[in-house]
């Protein structure tokens, strides 16, 4: 049974900060160490509950929440990346459930996940201008340039044509 103290001790090389708040273990790390940290967490935390991103204005904070069904314990992992052209290693090979969550973060925030098997837009369409959940994305209802380009489905057809 992992405890918070043991976890932070084992993973201290990959952490930049840790605290226990309201029964949840909150870990902070940075883009270079995150992959190793998640690999260390994988055996104990078997459920990929959430993965998202917060635009704090200055930079992007990527946040993921894992749950251990055996211990009934949640852990938050967060890290900050620059607002534009942020790159992160993917976690979708560790937890398949993050495959779509990463696509969503890519779609809405423009964060690139290196090594993701199928990093396409998911909620918006092919050719959508910008990333809507960034704070500087302007929502203008009267903007007449909002035309959805003709959808060719080429990305999907290519995907399906792959063996």
């Amino acid at each position: 049974m992992t405890t918070f103290a043991q976890l932070t001790h084992d993973q201290r090389a990959h952490l930049t900060g840790s605290e226990e708040a309201g029964g949840v273990w909150c870990l902070t790390t940075d883009p270079r160490k995150v992959r190793a940290l998640l690999e260390g967490l994988r055996p104990a935390f078997d459920y990929p509950e959430d993965l998202t991103c917060i635009d704090t204005g200055g930079e992007l904070r990527v946040f993921c929440r894992l749950w251990s069904t055996a211990q009934r314990q949640a852990v938050h992992v967060s890290l900050t990346i620059p607002r534009s052209r942020g790159h992160l290693p993917t976690a979708s090979d560790l937890w398949r459930g993050y495959e779509w969550q990463e696509r969503e973060v890519f779609d809405l925030f423009g964060v690139q996940f290196d090594g993701h098997p199928d990093l396409r837009r998911i909620l918006t369409w092919e050719g959508f201008p910008g990333h809507p959940l960034l704070k500087d994305f302007v929502v203008d209802n009267d903007d007449s340039s909002w035309e959805i380009p003709e959808q060719t489905d080429q990305e999907i057809i290519d995907l399906l044509s792959r063996e």
């Binding site: 078997d46 509950e49 959430d50 917060i54 949640a74 937890w95 398949r96 495959e99 909620l123």
Partner: protein
Amino acid sequence: MPLRDFRIPEFDAPEVQLPTGELAHETTIVSMGPQHPSTHGVLRLMLKLDGESVLQVVPVIGYLHRGTEKIAEKRSYAMIVPYTDRLDYISSMYMNLGYVRAVEGLLGIEAPPRARVIRTILGELQRIASHLVWLGTFGLDLGAWTAFIYCFRERELILDLFEQICGARLTYNAIRIGGIVADLPAGWEDGLRAYLTAQEQGLRDYEGLLTGNPVFRARIEGIGVISAADALNWGLSGPSLRGSGSTFDLRKDDPYECYGEVDFHVATADSGDCLGRYEVRIQEMHESLSIIRQLLPRLQEPGEVQTKVPRVLKPPAGEFYAHVEAPRGIFGVYVVSDGSANPVRVRFRSPSFANLSALNTMCAGMKLADVVAILGSIDIVLGEVDR
């Protein structure tokens, strides 16, 4: 025997590619949806078919994306509650609950005991109502038309009960930050009791129509199998996960409201197929009825249903993650505050989104008709998939 052995030596046609292997295959790519009778809304599935066999499924979502999370950044905390109704519109009550619990966590307040009891009862009623819609539409997906009407017969009674509380039948906006919208109207409990009796008969009716039906069982037994480990790995939750044998249920594992105080059993099935998911939901309805019965006496205790909450909410800077076991699985709400009246970020972790992502895994090697059955068995609502 390979077909190329039959080539006539004199006739040479190099441009003709003769098929190799036992039988020649030509695959078709079919777009199922976004307007299709059984995609439960505006889901689009790109199917790669070999005859009737499904080789690959690529779900295309986003047709109902309304940018709820973006809208939420421009609204005050209390104003967001009605938006959550529109996420999973089949179980709006639970969407309210999830969001409200996150804001309450951020504020550090808690609803009064009576409100907690009522919330739990409403939540379980909502779970049954949601499962009834699922049961009816699952039957429709399989071509069994009749169960649908029977399910809606009892769902109507639940909606009547909800209507008495908040005046709405689909998007309730009933659970508010710090409590619920109003105390129960007079006579509501009698209606609830009458409903509980009707529902028990109703459950017998549905089971009589479906559970033992050999055609129904033949259609869902062994279809869309996913193991418990795979299901967890894919982030499945709710009945879709418990149908594979996992007992992961937040009502037990991370109790909220009154779930810690009632005695219930987490319904599971070991088969991991559509039948397992079906059985779990049927059992869950029985469990929900039992939970409501246990909480009925506590409705007699008078008390406040709303704590004092300031008119303009300005939670302290910080963040809070609340998750509840919605009818479809784990509904997580992540609220980040900077101390102002509007949240910096509201994130809705929707169960259907995660459940849908495993569709391709479940559909491998199945027939076209099974895709419809599997999609029905994971019970998605596009409102929360697309948000």
